[in-house]
């Protein structure tokens, strides 16, 4: 798990991507995670708390162009004031050896709660994003990314 305060430069984001990719590369022999493994990770963080939908814009491609570097962009709807802001965002991949891909921490000073990175995906799978708000509320979003062998286009 990578914990990091979000800075707004692109260079930082790319550095993040490199680290996130490394996590997957270092663990090639582990068996693939699944829905339960992601649920277990989330339980470790938040116990049995309830999740709401909405607020999270999880932007991943429907079909990965390169499974080694799949772009993921998260954007959480929030005024980002001292009274109401996004505290942290976690991204999980159900089909990767280590389910936890990346975690971000935000402060009101960030101005907005959005981040981009690239992750390595071994196969078609769901990406899960959860956001923890300063008032304790939790949000969840899920998206499927197809990893294909490609070819044979019309």
């Amino acid at each position: 798990m990578i914990l990091k305060s979000v800075e707004k430069t692109r260079r930082e984001t790319l550095a993040m991507a490199a680290i996130a990719g490394l996590a997957a590369i270092l663990a090639p022999r582990l068996s693939l995670a699944d829905e339960q493994a992601v649920a277990a990770e989330i339980k470790k963080l938040y116990g049995d708390k309830k999740f709401e939908s909405g607020k999270i814009k999880l932007d991943v491609p429907e079909i990965a162009e390169n499974g080694l570097v799949v772009p993921v962009n998260v954007d959480i709807e929030s005024p980002m004031t001292d009274a109401d802001y996004v505290k942290s965002v976690h991204v999980f991949a159900e089909g990767n050896p280590l389910p936890a891909v990346v975690s971000y921490r935000f402060t009101p000073a960030c101005g907005k709660a959005s981040a981009s990175t690239r992750m390595r995906l071994a196969e078609t799978q769901n990406i899960v994003c959860i956001a923890e708000m300063s008032n304790g509320k939790l949000h969840m979003a899920k998206a499927n990314v197809k990893v294909t062998i490609g070819g044979c286009g019309g």
Binding site: R10, L14, P61, E62, I63, A64, E65, N66, V69, P71, T124, K146, T148, I149, G150, G151, C152, G153, G154
Partner: protein
């Protein structure tokens, strides 16, 4: 915007030109063997703007036969909807008489008999005549000419000249803008070189540098025609990096980028556009979904899936045009603008019947000039065919059977795979098979015919993956193209099942035994998207086979059992 009633009247009026009382002017003329250029061009003009649209010409400069599919299945919400209609269902939907010129141009059954009546279609000199006639009628200042892409690839001359023949021809047609897909298989550098120097715009809002997300091409161009401002937004095939070799454009990233299209539309409106057009290589089903989600598009000019439809399909306030492929059709859209908005649209899919249209002399000369250096090769007769050889169909085509047979014998393989490309001309029984015919079905920049070992499991994975690319119920997860063609192996497919469980009953045809998951088979194929694929170019493999058999005869293919449609 036009009401549903107006729209129906608009299409009815346009349709009346080709449909009439079931056997319209074209049909009657054809029945009397008097199909004329005037019949094809006849159009009740509307408003002050005309858009002419061609797509998927696949570098076909000369008239040819191209048989439309007899199997074109839709899944999910679009099951049984156009363009997923063939033969009698297609004719009933669009009110086309069996045996008519339109039936020949748009459907597949009775193709051989009708081909003898109606002759070839397309040819850039005929296309030039139609475009010239519309420009003369409307005035150059009212006409916009657009190309939906896949115009630079699909012939020996385009391959040998790295698309220069098509760039010269499209420039001579005074093309205003185009978008791309197969164009990118000439490599990033060549495409940028043409885009930067050609007299037409090369538009693609959805291609970005994959490091900095900067746009690679111009996203949109504004044109003034007939006193109206028209915004044209380009959309390249979103799946190019998956469907074709990514190593040829390693720094480019594609995708649908719906929100960015919306931004382009909004910016175009803010900049004064009265008409907003998406020039799209998404494929029809993707565009139909996109039209329901992006607001403010007046027209989507569709391409990629090679559908030809003699009527507009309307989604909300957006009309979709499907103009066919291989130069068989030129679409004409007349648009009336009132108060800076589209008030009415009238449409006709003009069929390019080569025998009925007087070739444009200047274009005939240009086509001859670009073909001259290769004329000897193109005309070289390798053999002849006793069978109808065609490409289109979701699961097989007889031209693909020929390619598979060639790989089986020339590469000594147990099982062969041939890509489900939708381009390549059709040959009718008795036709000579020339070098031009072979390369019209094979001319790509990654032609190597590989030979290697694959397990039964790996073969199944390929079939499942490709099937999902065609039959995923959500069009945004589809990539276009047809099912990979198999030689030496049969299988059953249930297209309604999810990925991983569509394919069953894989059978080795020669032995009649089931394909074993762990057993290794010698497999040959071509058009691999992997870099440094080894093997002879596929056109040499096919030519060697045709030369040996001399007269090609394709047996009916019953190796694929389809359910769930």
């Amino acid at each position: 915007m036009i009401s549903r009633r107006d729209f129906l009247q608009a299409t009815a009026a346009a349709s009346a030109l080709t449909i009439g009382s079931g056997l319209g002017p074209l049909g009657r003329a054809a029945a009397q063997q008097r199909l004329t250029q005037a019949d094809i061009l006849r159009f009740d003009p509307l408003g002050t703007v005309t858009i002419l649209y061609v797509a998927d010409t696949h570098a076909q400069l000369m008239p040819l036969h191209f048989r439309e599919p007899s199997v074109n299945l839709g899944v999910g919400e679009v099951k049984g909807m156009p363009p997923h209609l063939t033969d009698v269902e297609f004719r009933n939907y669009f009110k086309i008489a069996a045996g008519s010129a339109d039936a020949f141009a748009l459907t597949a059954d009775d193709f051989v008999a009708l081909a003898k009546n109606y002759g070839r279609m397309g040819g850039m000199d005929r296309v030039a005549t139609l475009i010239g006639a519309v420009r003369a009628e409307r005035g150059d200042d009212k006409v916009l000419l657009l190309d939906g892409g896949d115009s630079w690839q699909g012939s020996w001359t385009s391959l040998q000249t790295k698309a220069q023949d098509m760039v010269d021809v499209m420039s001579a047609l005074k093309l205003d803008a185009m978008v791309g897909h197969w164009e990118f298989t000439y490599g990033a550098e060549r495409v940028k070189q043409i885009a930067d120097s050609a007299p037409f715009a090369f538009l693609a809002q959805n291609i970005r540098d994959n490091e900095w997300q900067e746009p690679v091409f111009e996203a949109r161009k504004m044109f003034e025609r007939g006193g109206a401002t028209i915004a044209v937004i380009g959309q390249a095939l979103p799946r190019t990096a998956v469907a074709n070799p990514r190593w040829m454009f390693p720094n480019w990233e594609f995708g649908i980028r719906e929100e960015d299209i919306q931004k382009q539309v909004d910016e175009a409106r803010a900049a004064g556009a009265s008409i907003v057009v998406l020039l799209s290589h998404n494929g029809f089903d993707v565009d139909r979904k996109l039209a329901s989600r992006v607001k403010g598009l007046d027209v989507i000019l569709t391409a990629h899936t090679h559908d030809a439809m003699p009527g507009l399909i309307k989604v909300g306030n957006t009309v979709l045009v499907a103009t066919g492929s291989h130069g068989k059709f030129v679409s004409r859209l007349d648009i009336e603008v009132k108060d800076k908005k589209v008030a009415d649209i009238r449409f006709k899919l003009m069929p390019v019947f080569s025998d009925a249209i007087k070739p444009d002399a200047a274009m005939t000369a240009l086509v001859e000039k670009v073909r001259a250096p290769f004329a000897g090769d193109l005309a070289r007769e390798i053999g002849k065919t006793d069978s109808l050889l065609y490409r289109r169909g979701n699961f097989n085509g007889t031209f693909d059977d020929l390619i598979c047979n060639a790989m089986m014998s020339e590469r000594d393989a147990e099982i062969v795979l041939s890509p489900g490309f939708r381009w390549g001309g059709t040959l009718i029984p008795g036709d000579a098979i020339t070098w031009e015919q072979i390369t019209n079905a094979t001319a790509i920049t990654y032609p190597n015919c590989y030979r290697n070992q694959m397990t039964g499991t790996q073969i199944k994975e390929v079939l499942e993956d490709v099937a999902d690319n065609i039959f995923h119920p959500d069009p945004y997860f589809q990539g276009g193209g047809d099912m990979v063609r198999m030689g030496g192996m049969g299988y059953a497919i249930d297209i309604s099942k999810p990925m991983g469980s569509r394919i069953s009953e894989m059978t080795h045809l020669k032995s009649g035994k089931p394909i074993e998951a762990s057993k290794t088979y010698t497999v040959s194929g071509w058009a691999s998207i992997n870099e440094n694929t080894q093997g002879p170019p596929i056109w040499d493999v096919v030519a060697a086979h045709v030369a040996k058999v001399s007269t090609v005869k394709i047996e009916p293919n019953t190796a694929v059992k389809v359910t769930g449609s």
